[in-house]
Amino acid sequence: MTALLSGRGLTRMFDGKNGCAQIDIDLHPGEVTCIVGESGSGKTTLLNLLSLQLRPDAGSLYYRTDDGARIDLGLASEIDRRRLMRTEWGFVRQNPRDGLLRDVSAGANISERLMANGARHYGALRDTAIDWMRKVELDHGRVDDLPRDFSGGMQQRLQIARNLVTGPRLLFMDEPTAGLDVSVQARLLDLLRTLTSQLGIAILIVTHDIGVARLLAHRLLVMRRGRIIETGLTDQVLDDPQQPYTQMLVSSVLPV
């Protein structure tokens, strides 16, 4: 299978120690990839490198466009990079506060990316927003409500809708279920699983919670001290972890 996004030798260090080094990674269309690791493992740095929010000290990043061309994102113009980020990619933040516009309605939040891409019909924007609220199982009668009127779990759904509205090919998620109640987490994970199988997009999820990986990921990468120490299909890694550190991670969670 041809990778959608490939990193080779990605390195970014802070103060000479924290960060990540020499990372090779491939994200495939329709596949959910989870990066698991503790805080300080370098997983967030890697996420930021892959999503173009950080420049690497070394290494390359390649993206396969719709028409099959392979572009070197390190050499792409800032205009191309930004266009990618607001059309073909999405980014769901850990804290919905950082990923939503606080002072405007759910409908405006969902419509922003469409308007940034030139949509100019209010009625059509609103219909699309309502449609996406349905898809993420939010009450579409609340399309004019402000984000703060929604619960934490619903805000996270709103953030997901806001990112998926442009039909991205790749979605980055940073600890999307952290800070939510366990039951809310479970419902959100169910929704994500449904959406990913329906939409067939590539998703990269960074999490410290191996339970999230077990439920959603096709492929698993375990990071420790800035390196990928183990990688493979999720079932393989979880059923037969090779590294002592992975064994410890796997045994520390209850079976789902």
Binding site: E78, I79, R82, R86, L101, V104, S105, G107, A108, S111, E112, R113, M115, A116, N117, R120, H121, Y122, G123, A124, L125, R126, V143, D144
Partner: protein, 309 residues
């Protein structure tokens, strides 16, 4: 009556022989020549990139920010001895602000001033565009308090610079969407944001949106100066200026039910004014020159009632 000179003559530097140097304490038009040159360079850049906000090193002026220091600096950098200056504030030539700025330039330049739009070569304005159509040999200089329409939505200057650099204007459209969702229509009646030359988002300054159509394809050169924010931008002559809107909620200007009580104009921007000490109110042209000229040219029998009870 003085005939207006060509606008390209208005930037001619005064020579040592000109009478304008007789005010020994100050340079012609108050600013020193180096500062004027710096401002003119910024102006040239602004004209070359329509709607783009050019930073400039704004000088201290002998009046506080908020009183038109940006516009005054542009006027000072452009004005020449043969110019004829008009200064308007909210459409009127006789408000304190307009009178002060006009007399400042009279003292600092000795140029002729006028209230008649057609006589002026330079017009400095706050909050209005004259009703009388402008010509290609005229320059309209706007006083601007907040040059960036997204400054209320995005406080980070670097991010705003990125938005302009990459034409990333989703956020301002979000504001329009939200207005329609909450109020049924776009709630901005003044300072209604525009796209200049199909590219840069710009503030037209706090003119009523009624004036926005006059920005579009105007034969005059339109210059915008923000003193406190240190920005200059321009709409060159005959440039496209589109007010933001949606296909199904097109930009419209407010229609009037009334005509001007003094001149009968059915199509000018009206202000409701108290006309006597008994609190009677009438709708009167905000553009006092336009109103006066219409009254002066009307035959006596169609002349409207003066504002008397």
């Amino acid at each position: 009556m003085k005939s207006p000179c060509q606008w390209n003559e208005t930037v001619t530097l005064p020579s040592k022989n000109d009478a304008v140097f007789r005010n020994g304490d100050y340079n012609f038009a108050y600013l020193d020549e180096q500062t004027k040159r710096m401002i003119r360079r910024a102006l040239l850049k602004a004209v070359a990139i329509p709607g783009y906000q050019v930073p400039f090193a704004a000088r201290e002026m002998p009046l506080p920010y908020g009183w038109g220091t940006g516009g005054i600096q542009l006027t000072a950098a452009l004005i020449g001895p043969r110019d004829v200056l008009k200064v308007i504030d909210q459409g009127a030539d006789d408000t304190t602000n307009a009178v002060n700025i006009r007399s400042f330039f009279e003292r600092m330049t000795d140029v002729a001033t006028t209230t008649l739009v057609q006589e002026a070569t330079l017009i400095q304005t706050r909050h209005r565009i004259p009703e009388t159509p402008l010509r290609a040999d005229q320059i309209l200089i706007y006083q601007v308090p907040l040059p960036d329409p997204v400054s209320r939505l995005e406080p980070r200057g670097t991010e705003r610079a990125n938005m302009h650099a990459f034409g990333d204007y989703g956020l301002i459209n979000v504001k329009l969407y939200e207005d329609i969702a909450q109020h049924g229509s776009v709630a901005m009646a003044f300072d209604y944001p525009v796209i200049v030359n199909g590219r840069y988002l710009a503030s037209p300054s706090p003119i009523p949106k009624f004036d926005n159509p006059k920005l579009h394809m105007n034969p005059a050169l339109q210059l915008f100066g923000a003193g406190r924010e240190r920005r200059i931008y321009a709409i060159p002559p005959f440039t496209s200026v589109r007010s933001l809107d949606f296909d199904d909620h097109p930009f419209t200007i407010q229609p009037w039910d009334e005509s001007c009580a003094l001149c009968g104009a059915p199509d000018s921007f009206l202000e409701e004014m108290t006309v006597d000490d008994r609190g009677n109110r009438q709708h009167i042209c905000s553009d006092s020159d336009y109103c006066a000229q219409r009254r002066a040219t009307q035959p006596a029998h169609v002349r409207h009632q003066e504002a008397m009870p």
